[in-house]
């Protein structure tokens, strides 16, 4: 088990460093590149938990599509190529620190409440659970209603975006 522990901490520290990089970067594109490292790190954590399919979908969707769209937006909106130091800073450090601490506290409390004391023992049979087939089965059998609700939400967001972009 200790290999997983070591790998977890190495990836977690890299993710935390990259997350600090996201907020510290003086350049929007650099911030997006740091964000890629964070997403790649969370994909690696999924692999450590034997959730192979979820990990690769994380890479495919978040790195392969969402950050690309983000960068695309930056390029289309004439974002300045280079910022002077401190210009992207909006001087709300105290407020953001409070929010960050609050979020951390809430997540920590709920996670410990839900899973505290649970020990994961990896077995070969658990690899099947993380495969594409079993994830698909559980989405379209057990969780089909939440899946459809989320689809409707996304559709509504899409229609809303078109309606906003349309000139009346």
């Amino acid at each position: 088990m200790w290999e997983q522990q070591v790998a977890f901490w190495v990836i977690a520290v890299a993710m935390a460093g990259a997350a600090i990089g996201v907020v510290r970067a003086n350049n929007v594109v650099h911030a997006a590149l740091f964000l890629i490292v964070v997403f790649a790190g969370s994909a690696a954590q999924y692999i450590l938990l034997l959730a192979e399919f979820v990990a690769w979908v994380q890479v495919l969707i978040y790195i392969g599509a969402i950050i690309v769209l983000f960068l695309f937006g930056v390029m289309l909106t004439r974002a300045p190529m280079r910022e002077e130091r401190g210009k992207l800073d909006n001087s709300q450090r105290l407020a953001s620190a409070v929010v960050a601490l609050f979020l951390f506290g809430v997540l920590a409390v709920f996670l410990i409440d839900a899973f505290g004391g649970t020990e994961l023992r990896f077995r070969d049979s658990m690899v099947e659970v993380g495969s594409a087939a079993s994830v698909g089965d559980s989405i379209f059998r057990q969780f089909v209603i939440p899946f459809e609700v989320v689809s409707m939400l996304l559709l509504a967001a899409l229609v809303g975006a078109v309606a906003l972009a349309r000139r009346d």
Partner: protein
């Protein structure tokens, strides 16, 4: 056995020094073969296009000019590297590697041969067989997009930026069509693993070309895959990313020397990888007749023939790409977007629907003469509704700003 490493029997008895050595040797071979293949592909392309245009083409370096690409590479390697004043240096240096590394990695899932014995062990002639299989290809082409995008942005210059904005829009649009076309095969195979897909298309006689290989059952997906693969690799007629007349060369305008060569290499490597994936998904991969007069387990039939058939199919597709390059004029940008969003994505969706009905019908034993026409009719109704919603030519379209 460690199941997460995939189904390769090499890992079944645990991992020791020999296994690690076999994997390293396989990696080096794939890496080298791919590089050499790109070298020959560039020569082959220039020679074939020259023949089609009544020219001679490269002929000075080596017999028939085969070493021309090598000579170009050596020249570029020794050229000065320049970087514009407005460039963003770390990203500018990083971008070429973001293009080339996914191009290499995508090839890892291509099965180029069957099961072979090495040093007392059995292994597949394939670098990796991850459980997510074909998803790996989509992922890698998604990451390869960063190379193009960041190169244009980091150059700090107008034309490269325009080129990379075009590129990201184009690649993102066609990635959707490409993924949906792959679904057309996955519905039939029921597995994402490239090894399983190839095994299902195994050779059982001349009839297996139409009965086993997926190009016929998934003919619609095959056509959509080919078109979007060509667009995804920035290959003419979809080479708007580097349209010389409009963009002075596109996203790599400011790149010189070996960094330019890396982009060049990545682009042609992607063409080879996409063709190899098309062979894997639709044309049976290494499946083909073995030599009947030799024993089935002789080294020729185990090692040589699958690789031979794979190479033959790959060459046919690569010739087709060169043919297209020499023949078709470049699309206009609005045509490109219309083709991707208005036609290919919809047709890929409809094809996935039809194949789903056909596959489930076959599994449940429904009458094929009812299910197939019913599925096609259903798809036709959806298509008619879509068609009615599309704006007509000449009809005033509300301008979107």
């Amino acid at each position: 056995m460690i199941p997460i490493l995939g189904a390769d029997p090499l890992f079944r008895d645990g991992i020791d020094g020999t296994v690690v050595l076999i994997v390293i040797v396989k990696t080096i071979i794939v890496f080298t073969v791919l590089l050499v293949a790109v070298m020959f592909y560039v020569w082959f392309m220039r020679k074939v296009i020259a023949d089609m245009q009544n020219r001679i083409g490269p002929q000075r370096a080596g017999p028939f000019g085969v070493l021309q690409t090598l000579a170009d590479g050596i020249k570029l390697f020794f050229k000065e590297q320049s970087s514009p004043e407005c460039a963003d240096p770390p990203v500018f240096r990083l971008a070429p590697y973001l293009a080339i590394i996914p191009a290499f990695m995508a090839f890892a899932i291509v099965p180029i041969g069957g099961l072979v014995p090495v040093a007392g062990r059995q292994t597949y002639l394939q670098l990796a067989d991850p459980g997510v299989g074909v998803l790996w290809l989509l992922m890698m082409s998604g990451i390869g997009l960063y190379g193009v995008m960041l190169a244009g942005w980091a150059s700090g210059s107008k034309y490269p930026l325009l080129g990379s904005v075009r590129a990201s829009a184009q690649l993102l649009s066609y990635e959707a069509a490409l993924g949906l076309a792959v679904v057309g095969v996955l519905v039939h195979s029921g597995s994402l693993s490239t090894r399983t897909i190839v095994d299902q298309q195994a050779w059982t006689g001349i009839g297996s070309i139409v009965s086993q290989w997926y190009w016929l059952p998934a003919i619609g997906a095959f056509v959509i895959f080919c078109i979007s693969a060509i667009a995804e690799t920035n290959h003419p007629p979809f080479d708007l990313v580097e349209a010389e007349q409009e963009l002075v060369g596109g996203f790599h305008t400011e790149y010189t020397g070996i960094r330019f060569a890396i982009f060049f290499l990545a682009e042609f490597m992607n063409v080879i990888t996409m063709s190899a994936i098309a062979v894997t998904l639709f044309l049976g991969g290494p499946a083909g007749p073995a030599l009947g007069f030799l024993a089935a387990d002789s080294w020729v039939n185990v090692w040589v023939m699958p690789v031979f058939w794979f190479t033959v199919k790959l060459l046919v597709l690569l010739y087709a790409t060169v043919w297209i390059r020499a023949t078709l004029p470049r699309l206009r940008y609005d045509q490109l977007m219309a083709l991707g969003w208005k036609y290919l994505i919809e047709l890929a969706f409809l094809w996935a629907m039809i194949s789903g009905v056909v596959v489930v019908g076959a599994r449940e034993g429904w009458n094929r003469w009812v299910t197939v026409p019913a599925a096609v009719a259903g798809a036709g109704i959806v298509l008619a509704v879509l068609w009615a919603c599309l704006p007509r030519r000449g009809e005033p379209v509300e301008e979107i700003r």
